[in-house]
């Protein structure tokens, strides 16, 4: 007991007097971190944990994505997206045809390349689902439904870009590089928000 007291007093003496007067600690004068900062860190801790988990999930996804991109399946996936896009455009009356990953029509032509596959938003959604403290089953269900929704949204994106290119070619680049990324982010965030408001969360991350 006496030894503990001695150790405590030695620790306390490590903090200079000016620091003790500037940063009054909650329990004795054993820390240099002001209380307001500690409160801020405590308020942020679960959110940072979520962010770190989200980032870790994204890193794992991108590692898998790199391997998938290098494999022969990527080409098949891009051809599938091109075929579906061509079918959708043909259904709208544009006589589009898919030749590999290239979609051609009298009014426009575009090639589906890596990055246009819509997998990256899906990966972000998967990482967000994994980082959210909910039951595994609901997470899997959300990831599945959300993933399918985002892949469908990507098809809408491709079709809309083809139509913009046909009618307003001067703004195609702006829509491609500026408008759709913003819309995709909003959709991903809103999907997550919609889900998280309806699901029972466990307290270990946001508690």
């Amino acid at each position: 007991m006496a030894r503990q007291k001695k150790r405590r007093s030695r620790r306390a003496s490590l903090v200079p007097a000016w620091a003790r007067s500037h940063f009054p600690a909650e329990r004795g004068a054993r820390t240099l971190v002001p209380r307001a900062w500690r409160d801020w860190i405590a308020a942020k801790k679960p959110v940072w944990r979520f962010t770190v988990l989200l980032f870790a999930g994204l890193a794992v996804f991108y590692a898998g994505y790199a391997f998938f991109s290098a494999s022969r399946y990527m080409g098949g996936f891009l051809r599938l997206i091109a075929s579906i896009s061509a079918a959708a455009l043909s259904a709208l009356g544009y006589e589009a045809q898919a030749d590999g990953a290239l979609v051609t029509a009298p009014a426009f032509a575009f090639q589906v390349v890596r990055g246009c596959d819509g997998l990256e938003p899906v990966g972000f959604l998967l990482a967000a689902a994994l980082a959210t403290p909910a039951a595994v089953r609901t997470r899997c269900l959300f990831a599945l439904v959300g993933g399918v929704f985002l892949l469908a949204l990507n098809l809408v994106r491709l079709v809309s870009l083809a139509l913009v290119d046909a009618y307003f070619p001067q703004i195609t680049e702006a829509i491609h590089w500026n408008a759709w990324p913003g819309v995709t982010i909003v959709v991903v965030v809103l999907l997550w928000v919609y889900w998280v408001r309806r699901v029972r969360l466990t307290g270990h991350a946001f508690g």
């Binding site: 405590a42 308020a43 942020k44 801790k45 679960p46 959110v47 940072w48 979520f50 962010t51 989200l54 980032f55 994204l58 890193a59 991108y62 590692a63 790199a66 290098a70 990055g115 990256e120 938003p121 972000f124 403290p133 680049e173 702006a174 590089w177 500026n178 408008a179 990324p181 913003g182 819309v183 995709t184 982010i185 909003v186 991903v188 965030v189 809103l190 928000v193 998280v196 408001r197 029972r200 969360l201 466990t202 307290g203 270990h204 946001f206 508690g207």
Partner: protein, 194 residues
């Protein structure tokens, strides 16, 4: 719990702010590219005595890929990577500003979030440039395993989607607090040890 209306207001505010910033691209883009090049050269000159990296405007000028990173691999041998200052910096900044300013929290917290977030985002931009410096440009003809890993890392760091998702990560980290999540999703179910 906030209503669906306030969530919709957040989405609309974000799209308006981001749209305004994105629309200012043709006006601000060249100035931002110049800022990127000058600050990048200043940074690399300060840390690299061998002058391994030099950043200059792309030749011929390209609307999208406007900045060239030159790597002086050995005397007389230079490799070049042309990147987009828009993708590398301007777009993530626009996204972050849109997200932070649209968040329904106090003005003081938004300003702090913006300050911290922009600092973190610029650290990320520097990390991107440093990645290029350390890993060098991808040699397409090299089919070795190491080159594949290097290409993946460069792709991840410099990729377009990362420019979109990193601002979201930073926004969550700097703007959202525990009480916001509680207010937002209601009480959470505590896990009880069996």
């Amino acid at each position: 719990m906030p209503s669906g209306r306030s969530i919709a207001a957040f989405a609309v505010k974000f799209l308006v702010i981001y749209g305004a910033l994105a629309a200012s691209g043709p006006l601000c883009g060249p100035a931002y590219a110049l800022f990127c090049r000058e600050s990048g050269n200043f940074m690399f000159d300060a840390v690299d005595a061998r002058n391994y990296v030099h950043i200059r405007a792309a030749v011929p000028p390209d609307a999208m890929k406007d900045t060239t990173l030159c790597f002086h691999v050995s005397p007389g041998q230079t490799r070049q990577v042309t990147v987009s200052s828009w993708v590398m910096g301007f777009q993530p900044i626009s996204l972050l500003i849109g997200l932070v300013l649209a968040t329904p929290v106090s003005a003081r917290r938004r300003l702090w979030g913006l300050f911290l977030g922009l600092a973190m985002l610029h650290a990320f931009v520097l990390a991107r440039l440093a990645t290029f410096t350390i890993l060098g440009p991808v040699v397409v003809s090299d089919t070795s395993w190491m080159n594949a890993v290097r290409a993946s890392v460069i792709d991840f760091i410099a990729g377009y989607a990362v420019s979109c998702f990193v601002p979201v990560l930073i926004w969550v980290a700097v703007t959202i607090r525990r009480e916001d999540v509680r207010r937002f999703v209601g009480p959470t179910v505590k896990k009880v040890a069996a």
